[in-house]
């Protein structure tokens, strides 16, 4: 084990800003990408459902 306490862990031997700045931004970026793609798929499906049902109704 490398760390004596939580504050030790957060301090990263004085490099806290750089280490957490790297890991934090990476985690946030991956999370945002997942959310954006999920929204894109959801919006596309919603628009298509509307389009398809409109086509069906116009054919009837």
């Amino acid at each position: 084990m490398n760390w004596g306490s939580t504050s030790d862990f957060l301090a990263m031997g004085g490099y806290g800003l750089y280490v957490w700045g790297s890991f934090g931004v990476t985690a946030a970026a991956l999370l945002v990408e997942v959310i954006l793609v999920r929204q894109r798929l959801r919006n596309t499906r919603r628009a298509l459902r509307r389009e398809i049902s409109a086509n069906r109704n116009s054919q009837d």
Binding site: G13, V19, S22, T26, E33, V37, R38, L41, L48, S53
Partner: protein
């Protein structure tokens, strides 16, 4: 049935690939999450403190895998471009544009974590060094690909323009890789090489490789996830789309 009798082009049809991608991506997402957690645990609790850089070196566990992925994804895009040009399959362009945003993201993360590593170790966020500059060019190539393909309305023509960017831009990848050999750079040489024993502790190497595999699984999951949206957008008028269970409501 022998493996050679499988018709791989069958799966290249968007109507076939859409459900296949839907079945596959959750597995890659699960593998990526699991490997990511193991990688983080090694990064912070198993790998020892570096004798020169203290705890600051731990940035390596995302910096190197992110940089590898940024180069690797561009090569995969060039491979799809080659497939698209030779076989003219529609899926090649769709996979290319599904990969580009994730590639751009990893190129950005490589530059970002590199800046955060450079500041405490070199005393500067950025230098116009061959390694850093060629990685920045890679980021611009991804952005250029995305902007160009988004600017052309006809998706088939957009794909062709994108293929050219991928095939021409891929020459930059070996330039990035060998930049630390060809030029005198502030950036250090390769940490891991196929020809000589690694110059780092085994646990550090292991952590880096597991994080690289995690990013790799994440990339596959995201590409498969995103390509489903792209397929639906482009095939919106196809009958198979109207017959999908998720379209009935």
């Amino acid at each position: 049935m022998t493996p050679s009798s499988i018709n791989w082009f069958k799966f290249a049809a968007p109507a076939r690939f859409y459900p296949l991608a839907g079945r596959l991506w959750p597995w890659f997402a699960a593998i990526g999450t699991l490997l990511g957690l193991v990688g983080l645990w090694i990064s912070f609790f198993v790998a020892p403190t570096d004798f020169q850089q203290g705890e600051g070196y731990r940035i390596i566990f995302i910096h190197v895998p992110a940089s590898w992925m940024s180069m690797f994804i561009y090569c995969v895009m060039a491979f799809y471009a080659l497939l698209g040009v030779t076989f003219n399959t529609r899926l090649a362009g769709m996979m290319s544009s599904a990969l580009a945003p994730t590639g751009a993201l990893f190129a950005f993360l490589s530059l970002w974590t590199g800046a955060l590593w450079g500041k405490p170790m070199w005393g500067t966020w950025w230098v116009w060094d061959a390694r850093l500059t060629s990685e920045l060019i890679l980021f611009f190539l991804y952005v250029g690909y995305i902007a160009l393909t988004a600017a052309i309305d006809d998706p088939r023509r957009a794909d062709k323009a994108g293929f050219i960017v991928s095939l021409v831009g891929v020459v930059n990848v070996p330039v990035i890789y060998f930049s630390v050999k060809w030029w005198n750079t502030l950036h250090q040489g390769a940490s891991v090489s196929l020809t000589k024993a690694p110059s780092m502790a085994t646990t550090m190497l292991l952590g880096m490789l597991i994080m690289a595999l995690a990013f790799w699984a994440y990339t596959i999951a995201m590409a498969l996830y995103r390509v489903r949206a792209i397929i639906l957008e482009r095939e919106r008028n196809a009958t198979w789309v109207a017959e999908l269970p998720e379209m009935k409501s």
